[in-house]
Symmetry: C2
Subunit: 113 residues, 2 copies
Amino acid sequence: MAFVRHEKEVPPADLSAEHDLKGVELRPLITEEEGAKNFSMRLFRLEPGGYTPFHVHGWEHEVFVIGGDGQVVGEKGTLPLEVGAAVYVPPEERHRFQAGEKGLVFLCCIPNT
Amino acid sequence: MAFVRHEKEVPPADLSAEHDLKGVELRPLITEEEGAKNFSMRLFRLEPGGYTPFHVHGWEHEVFVIGGDGQVVGEKGTLPLEVGAAVYVPPEERHRFQAGEKGLVFLCCIPNT
């Protein structure tokens, strides 16, 4: 059955074992645990100057910026992000999301591999 | 390679052949055409009082509300929507999204079946 959950009801994930990141909050909104078999939806909040790991993996990201500003760093350069920006990061491309002065809030969907 | 496209750069889809809807704008932000093989990300804007078709299909929705307010109507009832709400609609459940007085803006991801 359909469900609605406010992002504030979803506890942030424990990122204490992660490296090479700063000021990152990740809330797993809809995941395989909720019965979503194909892909998951997560909400990221980066504090001003925060960043996610510069890493690479075998799955794509589909991102939409809903607050703040920043950049996505890929293998071919850095692209600016503002509210309303959709970002596709293909599998196997190293990347990082980083916040500008206002912080950065974005949704990030990934396949459940 | 990673790309960024602002939602305002993406032309709305032609919904003229659709029925049972009112005041719906759909922008296909990231789709199979852009190389996203697993799932697509679309942005919906419903004008105040607008609604999507009350329909059923074999794929799930993962939704996040980024503006306005409204409701999702499922087979077991109606659930309120506000900014920050994540919605999962499972495959084969009839559903409709409808806007309140402020309109409704949401992201909706679907698998590429």
